[in-house]
Point group: C2
Chain length 545, copies 2
């Protein structure tokens, strides 16, 4: 090989905050705090505090490679931990506080976390869990001295602001191999124990670059962006890296994510873009309707985590002049795989025609390769018809799970691609269509029914606030679809009305055999509808014959 | 080290054209051809032809690591060579046809080029040089069969389109180490022999990412971009990579870069942005004035290669509503180091106030570290006052020159930084100000006079079309500045008028001791004013006493 003669410098996430501090010192991070009120500072001040935190971590004995856990909302201290932990060469292990306590214990022990930083909210939880946490030696409450518990049950509990107060802001980042791990996130795992995805400095930086390069318009001119997607969930889709790098203002909403609170924060802080899962946007849309308008500057929503119903995209587009970008990905993919990406001729179309394309899962992000493998094990053509399991490959995709060779082997194929567990097809013009999760497909007499297709149709029915379709056992067809629906406030849709609407939108063999109404749908820890719980609940449901 | 568990995939430039072919198949590359007329095709068709070319290169016996030279203008075949050569693991060596023939010979022999692809324009040159070119075995004329010479003096001369006609479009790119060289460019070298900069796939991809991440707005929404900067000059500032990646339309102007031709091309093809050196923009501005307007869609100019006069930026801004982005860099830096980059509070200013900032060399691109070393060898503070030699560091910067250990050693300091040969200072708010090239400074009695400062002031004088300031020997002060000026067509500025204007803009000790008028300034092969030639011409000039 003839080697290029360029400097051999590692890609390290610590370089991002240094760049922001220098080039965008006064661009703000605004945080809705757990203690109450808003906290504001610029990237230069953030860098100073990150330097102090890095000094504190070293003083606490945290070593390169150590896993440091967080249980925290979207706030500035959590942001600081991202950079300080990764900057000293340790691994920021973000734990989803919405998991069952036993899962948190499992994850913290499996990761062998040595320290835990947590928000005030989680003090009771941590007190309860402490006896089960085997490796954590250091507990730090992410608050100031005024809010420290007077009689806590945690011996030696440290105060975050107390630690920083004693430290120097100067901290020169060490240089190390760009393949060194910088973050760890466990998938909530609908089957089996949670599995750890260990990101490297390189993969995190490349994911950041790939996303900006694929959709530079999303980050042009120092946008004001509000991630509802949690910092504890798949690196908040890279926003903690992209916003400082591109000088975007970051609005961190803290713990309160209900429609009215989110609306007020967006309105007051002039959020131009919001990133989060569809259920959050449904709540926000309700608030739009109540107030008769959107937050004044909101013009873009990025929605990912689960399929976005066409009806929702249309409402945002038509009634509020908000462009919805639909993303698809996985924790295992850093997380973005595909996102709405228009060709120039598509962008020239009227907004509602464009919106019809946005219900698709998007086109591949640069750096992510896609292949669909049909039932026979062959690579399916991009014909928009042939579906199969979606496999992905790229620098931002897991090669295996942390300390779990067995799970790794299951999901990596012989060519080194990662099996997503999604059933998908790709159109000739390269839109990805996720048909369903493999396990959510309704297998009806040898035919597959996409639960997503039926749900999308049902969401367009007046009076349906939310819904899910699951397969329930059927004596003749193996499984048949059951529609589980939540009524909108004040609405009283009937089963017949809904089925009438569906009959005009989907094929007869896809029609649900029954409709049941519930007050609320069970949710997973990452804010998705838990079909696993629904299937358990309706396992013995008797469909009408 | 705890290694992240992400796929180990190389960054290769070949992935860019595959992405564009898939995601932006119909986005156009429009070329003004050497044969006459315009050529148009989309990225998908470009990829097909690049596949054929790659097959042809392999059939010609080109091996990974081989240097393949080009002598060509900005056209689609040159673009194809960029990707096909790099894609098979070889090195695309772009030679500047404006160099002296002896320099071309030196460069081709030093690089040990094995093949040469050249435009019709250069057939006489290549015929003349052939006896001196030691390593080139294959000569390919970049044209179709109709334009092949009937009685060429080059035995075995191959026809580009003839080669492609016989080949299959299918070509799967090999995978190899991302540090493998992909391109080679020699600096024109004002002293000594030209020196080779050998770029790697990694450095080229990172430069592309760094530039997009630093200024995403420049590439948002599939802009139409016209690089006047040649493909043979420092990778045309990464545009051959950025435009396909971001789905931008690429307008390649070919050989004719005069004001009227460029204007027509921009007008007819709807160019929204143009990238090139200041002298090109001076020519284009003349054309604006003649026609009384700008090309209809032109809204952005990126100017680099030498300092951009404030007067020019102001004219573009005030009279034509065109935003000028000023870039600074070097062939050794891939090439971008800094570029105009506004903080939000700066962008909020009126256009002419912003324009005043754009005369500075910009803020650092992400991924490029800057340090200024003062006369005593200490790191200068970013105080906007202390100047010294500028050193740079980053993944996109040379670690040494190709087969030239001596030159490498001279320009890399003990900490591994590259010495740029520029004298610079950095303001507290992180704007880079290039004071001068070290060798262009006028050393007057122990004080340094920046030739750039005086030139900028002189360019604002009515009737001055272009100018340069050089130091000429002076018995008392060692050197004193001489202003060499070109009059604008029809204007008759006098020495006294010019000195009067200057006296209001610069300090007395900076004032030129004399003004001489010339018909034209000598230019280097890369379109910069050759001060070396000017100094030689005026070496014996007697300043008035």
């Amino acid at each position: 090989m003839l080697r290029g003669l360029m400097m051999d410098r590692p890609l390290l996430v610590s370089s991002v905050i240094d760049y922001a501090a220098e080039v965008y010192p006064d661009v703000q991070i605004v945080s809705q705090t757990v203690e109450g009120g808003l906290h504001r500072y610029g990237y230069a001040q953030a860098r100073d505090r990150i330097g102090k935190l890095a000094n504190a971590l070293v003083a606490l004995g945290i070593k390169p490679g150590d896993r440091v856990a967080t249980l925290a909302w979207n706030g500035y201290r959590h942001f600081e931990l991202y950079y300080a932990i990764a900057g000293i060469g340790a691994v920021c292990h973000t734990i989803n506080p919405r998991l069952f306590p036993e899962q948190i214990t499992y994850i913290a022990n499996h990761a062998e976390d040595t320290a835990l930083f947590f928000d005030l909210t989680f003090l009771p939880l941590v007190e309860k869990l402490k006896p089960t946490l085997k490796s954590i030696k250091t507990y730090v409450l992410m608050t100031d001295r005024e809010h420290m518990p007077a009689d806590g049950q945690l011996n030696g509990l440290l105060c975050y602001e107390g630690l920083l107060a004693e430290m120097d802001a100067a901290f020169t980042w060490p240089e190390f191999d760009e393949n060194a791990a910088c973050a760890l996130c466990y998938t909530s795992g609908t089957t089996g124990e949670p599995k750890g995805v260990l990101y490297s400095n390189r993969s995190m930086m490349l994911h950041t670059f790939f996303l900006i390069a694929t959709r530079p318009d999303l980050f042009a001119h120092n946008r004001t962006i509000l991630p509802v997607v949690p910092l504890f969930h798949a690196n908040a889709w890279s926003l903690p890296y992209i916003t400082p790098l591109t000088g975007c203002t970051l609005i961190l909403p803290g713990a309160r994510l209900d429609g009215p609170t989110l609306y007020d924060l967006m309105e007051n802080e002039g959020a131009e873009a919001g990133w989060g899962v569809p259920t959050v946007w449904l709540g926000l849309l309700d608030e739009f309707k109540k107030r008769g308008r959107k937050p004044r500057k909101l013009a873009q929503i990025l929605s990912g985590g689960s399929a976005v119903p066409q009806a929702m995209i249309d409402t945002f587009t038509r009634d509020y002049d908000i462009e919805v970008t639909h993303g698809w990905g996985m924790t295992e993919m850093s997380p973005v795989g595909t996102l709405t990406l228009f060709r120039p001729e598509e962008r020239a179309k009227p907004p509602l025609e464009r919106a019809a394309l946005s219900a698709r899962q998007g086109r591949r992000m640069f750096g992510v390769d896609l292949k669909v493998i049909d039932e026979k094990g062959n690579r399916a053509p991009a014909d928009g018809k042939t579906s199969g399991e979606l496999f992905v490959r790229g620098s931002t995709i897991v090669s295996g799970y942390f300390k779990n060779a067995e799970a790794s082997a299951k999901q990596i194929d012989s060519e080194g691609w990662f099996g997503t567990g999604d059933v998908a097809k790709i159109t000739p013009d390269r839109w990805l269509l996720i048909v369903d999760r493999t396990k959510d497909l309704v297998k009806s007499g040898g035919e597959w029914i996409s639960s997503i297709d039926v749900e999308n149709a049902a969401m367009a029915c007046k009076g349906v606030a939310n819904c899910a379709v699951i397969g329930v056992p059927h004596p003749k067809w193996d499984e048949r679809p059951l529609l589980v629906a939540v009524k909108a406030p004040g609405a009283e849709p009937t089963k017949t009305e809904i089925l009438d609407v569906l009959a005009s939108k989907i094929a007869k063999w896809q029609m649900p055999d029954d409709v049941v109404f519930v007050d609320a749908l069970p949710m997973t820890a990452t804010g998705k509808i838990s079909k696993k719980d629904l299937r358990a609940k309706f396992a013995d449901y008797k469909l009408p014959t």
